[in-house]
Amino acid sequence: MSPRKIVLRFGPEISDKPIIYRLVKDYDLVMNIVKANVNPQKEGIMVLELTGDNYEQGLKYLREQGVTVQALTHEVVRNEQRCTMCGACTAICPTGALYLDRPGMEVHFDGDNCVICQLCVKACPVRAMEVKL
């Protein structure tokens, strides 16, 4: 079976638990961590490539622990024409993929740091952040 890409989101109350350790040990899954990030509010986000016979059971375990699991089948892009460089998305983006370049205050988007949480899609007042399937 080929590896599948998923996005995991951890709330602050569980981000210090050894969940990934248990996922590997108890479910015998092979994983490749594509991206991982914990923001100052202690919310964690992780993008994983996951393979193994117990894949479905593993996801069930994650959900039971309160982790949000989503398949990674799309990407978030910025409509450069529409972005006004206001910055409203920058304190919302948990990974710093959208960030302000000081002192000019231009807003940059680094797709490599994006974990597709889509918070910016909702927070952007002019709908410049778009989800591409």
């Binding site: 205050m105 918070l119 927070a123 002019v126």
Partner: protein
């Protein structure tokens, strides 16, 4: 003290000799050469701001169809416009929403399309669906019409915004333990973030705290075209903020009512805007030229991000319940650094107002003046200043 007049400055613009600089450039000139020198050398300082400004809208005249109709109800792309004026006139307000919008019934609502978006579609020349119904009169017998229009089909399209260009604004935080969805953006619980919304040292009314130059008839950059200050804006309560020791922390409270020909404007500077969980509005670009008539005006125009402050306000509890007071003041220099301290906690900051766009507006206005395409107008009457002591009323009920 040397004084200049509007006439002298306009004569210099006409002869191509006027010295026009943006507010950012002016700050540097004052730093290098001193205030006295800068105020003599520079004729005009240009400012700019680009941010959501709710109290915006446009008067439209559709022209009469045959047979004629007295439009009693009007919808533009399904968004109702106000028709309690003349037979084929309407006012479309930036925050109006389609009648079938789910609003906040599935909180937080998305508010993807509203009056501000209709204005953006119009100004961009995109076709807009017009629907109107009338009750039928002897002179205006028609009862309904449904058609597609563009801005070119209208007799007049006049942007008229009763309250824009807020002099200063709160720095919004959230002390509660839930995420809140406000007109200051998404505020995360327990001081998760802080949002502010002015362009600080580039912002028009922060640079003329006592309204010594801005008044009725002041010619401005409005939405990419030329507009005018029509009056003071609604909720115009200018004041100079001070801390407990009496130190001045810059002005707050002034607003402008502005007017201009929508047909001259551009969708780059008038953009439909949505706030999750709050509503729809319009982002507006405004630039105001400040004539450097004397050294006092120069001193105000030279204020930097470090001299201008915003009050920190809790939108979780204090703001919605109208509890007075604030959590202290922060300078725009601190806000722009990316983090501030609130109640001993380091809080990341983000703006809602675009600094790069504010800078662009100040540069465009500078260019217009340098090219002799834009002259300064002397106000017919200045606006109420902090000395007038205007304050807001509380609605009882």
């Amino acid at each position: 003290m040397s004084e200049k007049t509007y006439q002298e400055i306009n004569a210099r613009i006409r002869s191509g000799k006027a010295v026009v600089v943006t507010a950012e450039e002016f700050i540097n000139i004052v730093r290098e050469k001193g205030l006295t020198h800068a105020s003599r050398e520079v004729d005009v300082v240009t400012t700019g701001t680009f941010a959501p400004m709710c109290s915006s809208g446009a008067f439209l005249n559709f022209g009469h169809p045959a047979p004629r109709i007295k439009m009693h109800r009007v919808w533009l792309n399904n968004v109702p416009a106000y028709t309690g004026i003349a037979a084929v006139d309407a006012y479309i307000g930036a925050t109006e929403l389609p009648e079938d919008d789910p609003l906040n019934s599935n909180h937080p609502g998305e508010f993807r399309y509203g009056g501000g978006h209709v204005i953006e579609d119009l100004v961009a020349g995109r076709p807009v669906r017009l629907k109107a119904v009338g009750y039928g009169t002897d002179c205006y017998p028609r009862r309904e019409i449904e058609t597609t229009i563009t801005i070119h089909d209208l007799n007049e399209a006049i942007l008229f915004n009763p309250r824009n260009a807020y002099q200063n604004y709160n720095c919004a935080v959230n002390l509660s333990n839930r995420t809140i969805y406000t007109y200051m953006g998404i505020l995360k619980p327990n001081l998760g973030n802080a949002h502010y919304s002015t362009s600080g040292q580039l912002s028009p009314l922060l640079k003329d705290p006592h309204f010594k130059t801005i008044g009725i008839g002041t010619r401005i950059f409005l939405g990419g075209g030329i507009g005018y200050v029509a009056w003071h804006g609604t909720q115009h309560f200018p004041a100079i903020q001070t801390d407990a020791s009496g130190k001045e922390l810059g002005p707050a409270g002034g607003t402008l009512a502005v007017i201009g020909d929508l047909k001259q404007m551009s969708p780059r500077w008038l953009m439909g805007t949505s706030y999750l969980g709050y509503g729809a509005t319009l982002s507006v670009g405004i630039g105001v030229p400040i004539p450097i008539l004397n050294e006092e005006i120069a001193r105000y125009a030279a204020a930097t991000d470090a001299d201008l402050y915003a009050p920190i306000v809790d939108y979780g509890e204090a703001y919605p319940n109208r509890k007075p007071g604030n959590l202290g003041y922060v300078s725009y220099a601190q806000l722009k650094s990316g983090k501030i301290m609130v109640q001993g906690k380091e809080v990341p900051t983000a703006p809602l107002s675009s600094y790069p766009r504010a800078r662009e507006i100040a540069s465009i206005l500078k260019e217009w003046i340098q090219k002799g395409e834009f002259f300064l107008s002397e106000p017919v009457q200045l606006l109420p200043s902090p000395a007038d002591g205007l304050t807001g009323k509380v609605l009882k009920g």
